[in-house]
Symmetry: C2
Subunit: 440 residues, 2 copies
């Protein structure tokens, strides 16, 4: 039986699990591939760093450049842009198959890397970069190859889903739910990339590229995190049988001037509790796909974690290794479509607007008038008086009420302009929240 | 650009949608494949039968045997065993790639057909036979090829899921929910294959084969339908925050004597409402997979219907056509494992037992004693008195009570023996229901 030489770059959370599986399951993997996968070495920054998995010391090296030379398969799990990018380019030039789980790199330099791999006639596989352990790449690229995807909604960040799920089940405020997530290891000490939606935006760009056969990068993605979502927003959503999820959305649109394009965006979103994505709890991820013929599909699983992500990496490794053993040409890549990314203003959506207003006659009429002037129609309006007139008089404040208004679908630009005009009204104390609604 | 000749056998619900897509989307498909897919003909029993889709009359023929000759790809969507089996064998012998959505055929003659296809060096693809539109074949065969699946739980029959979901949301009895399903076209006039679990059993056998790299057939599957599930069972489940689903279950087990094997079974199952499968409503299907490293995954979508199933068929057609254009050898199939199917008695499970018992002192003790004698421990026991003593005296009956007992996990054989002994007790009027519990 032949042997395929494998180089592993990086030995963190995921890398150490990949090394473990390659060593522990060597016989099984050999039977599935038709050749032994020999782990030739593991490139790390510091050989003596503590690791979660006990691995033979002789495998470690700090010389990644030498390690990638002459390997059949190079697995890159270092994360970050450099030196990952240079090492992958070097591996491609050397004719190696490359498997990566590096979403930041694929979201920013994917296009260049695919082109180089195509030129060199080698494969670049990146299932683990899309949604962790969830197999989404092959279903979209192959199973749906005879269909047309129209929209993708993804819960692609476990940290934010855990926080929002906690807020939903316990009524906690954002800051407390974040602390709980940090205590449990679901959120990093510096949680910015997660809670500001940047991680989700990178995955959204990759998902959009996969679904619509075009390359998108981070700059094409409108991005809004969950830091402004309050316990009140969650409670109001609950009252309306809705749930708030941070979604990465990619959808095909035709703008008013007839341009076809793709909107890619990440923002907190209200979803009906009956929507399949509403049942995605804790740190789990899911990708919901709508296609012309297949209808609605959903793929659910762990979006992060050492062993789950390692499973996706190994799936790519085994598939690539089988193809190397079979000696055939790479499967043809999809023809690329030329379809532009659209700005947020091109989107049609529905808003749920929370307002703190003066509780006095004529307020509702003035607000409704602004909606009408922008051609936006109101679906529901709920009012809660939250300062008793008597109490307000004592505190020398005017009595206030809270309004929650859900609009019908309308152009994002008209909705945004409506909110700005409402904010300027003297009877409006503040715009408490603006959330977009999907799936209704 | 080259042309690939395609023969379509059958033009029902799914076949007519496949023909429509092949004709309507010809340019798109050609761009994705790198060759035109030419629909050379459609074999039907009666050319003048009414069809859902308007198709050019010259494509129809009643001579299927002649049609399959010399085609690059043969799509079989006739259903049933013969003549589908003979025509597929003829296509394989002629060197054609075969795509089928025929679950009955794959579940009973799959093994023979794979062997013939392997011998002839042609591909046999059957994604649509597993779970309709849900892409499950490639995720399991490729994405999880570096992992080990331990258990698969599938809602693989839309009719029974619709009926159970109706019973759950409206409190309806089985017979009424069935009638509603028939009125909406979700159930056939003769619903036997669905409600007795036979359709789910065929898909369970295919799913088990796919997940555990072994061939199973219908005889290996324990099968119990949903006809005995009552509104009371559903109500009791609801009280306990559970839901009843018809599941196809395939799991790897080690028996007491150390044999490793696979249990494949279909039966109504109690699941916690927090389980992802509990959120699968209406006629939707889903397959929940547990793997060593990936953890829990779920694949959700439409399990039936013309256009959704056609999407899965076209996915197979495009993948196969791409491979024909690339001219490479077929990807290596998995090595087959030799792992036996286990009888139901080898399974460890938990029972929820509903009993109608006499409401008199000592009854609970006698029942508990029987559980103890079989080594089965009780997790919870709930009692509802459903005949008032006074009313019973008037009707000259003894007062009765209803018990719902949930056991801890135990060997199926011990649980079944316990139920038989309880049934024989003079203080037990009847065993109202026996349901297995999963996912807790």
């Amino acid at each position: 039986m032949d042997t395929l030489k494998v180089a592993l770059l990086g030995c963190g959370n995921v890398g150490s699990q990949v090394a473990r599986i390659l060593l522990e399951d060597a016989d099984d993997l050999a039977a599935r591939v038709g050749a032994r996968l020999e782990l030739a070495g593991i490139a790390v920054r510091n050989i003596d760093s503590p690791r979660e998995v006990d691995l033979p010391r002789h495998l470690f090296t700090t010389d990644a450049e030498t390690l990638v030379k002459g390997k059949d398969i190079v697995i890159e799990l270092m994360g970050g842009i450099e030196p990952a990018r240079s090492l992958i380019l070097r591996a491609i030039e050397g004719g190696s198959t490359v498997v990566t789980g590096n979403k930041a790199l694929i979201a920013t330099h994917g296009q260049q890397l695919y082109a180089k791999a195509h030129e060199a006639g080698v494969r670049l596989a990146y299932e683990a970069a899309v949604a962790g352990a969830i197999p989404i790449l092959r279903p979209i690229r192959e199973s749906l190859s005879g269909d047309r995807i129209t929209r993708v909604l993804g819960i692609v960040n476990g940290t934010t889903n855990y926080i929002l799920d906690q807020m939903d089940s316990t009524g906690a405020q954002f800051a407390d739910a974040l602390k709980a997530a940090q205590a449990l290891g679901y959120a990093e000490a510096d949680p910015t990339a997660d809670i500001e939606g940047l991680d989700a935006a990178a995955k959204g760009a990759i998902l959009a590229g996969l679904s619509f056969h075009t390359d998108f990068n981070l700059d094409d993605v409108y991005c809004e995190g969950i830091t402004k979502v309050t316990a009140d927003d969650i409670a109001a959503a609950k009252d309306a049988s809705m749930v708030i999820k941070l979604l990465a959305i990619a959808e095909k649109l035709i703008t008013e001037d007839g341009t076809e394009g793709i909107s890619v965006r990440v923002h907190p979103t209200l979803l009906p509790r009956t929507h399949p994505l509403a049942a995605v709890h804790g740190a789990f991820n899911a990708v919901f796909v709508e296609a012309d013929n297949a209808g609605q599909l959903m793929f659910y699983g762990q979006g992060a974690g050492g062993a789950p992500t390692a499973s996706a990496v190994l799936g790519d490794v085994v598939s690539a290794a089988r193809a190397l053993v079979a000696g055939g040409p790479w499967r043809l890549e999809d023809t690329k479509a030329e379809i532009p990314a659209l700005p947020l203003s091109a989107v049609t959506t529905s808003y749920c607007i929370g307002l703190d207003v003066a509780d006095q006659p004529g307020v509702l009429a003035r607000i409704a008038q602004i909606f009408a002037s922008h051609g936006v129609s109101i679906e529901t309006m709920r009012q809660t008086i939250h300062t008793e007139p008597a109490a307000a008089a004592l505190a020398a404040e005017r009595p206030a009420a809270e309004l929650r208004i859900v609009t019908h679908r309308g152009p994002e630009a008209a909705l945004a302009a409506t909110v700005e005009d409402i904010r300027a009204l003297d009877v409006v104390n503040s715009v408490i929240s603006v959330l977009r609604v999907e799936g209704v």
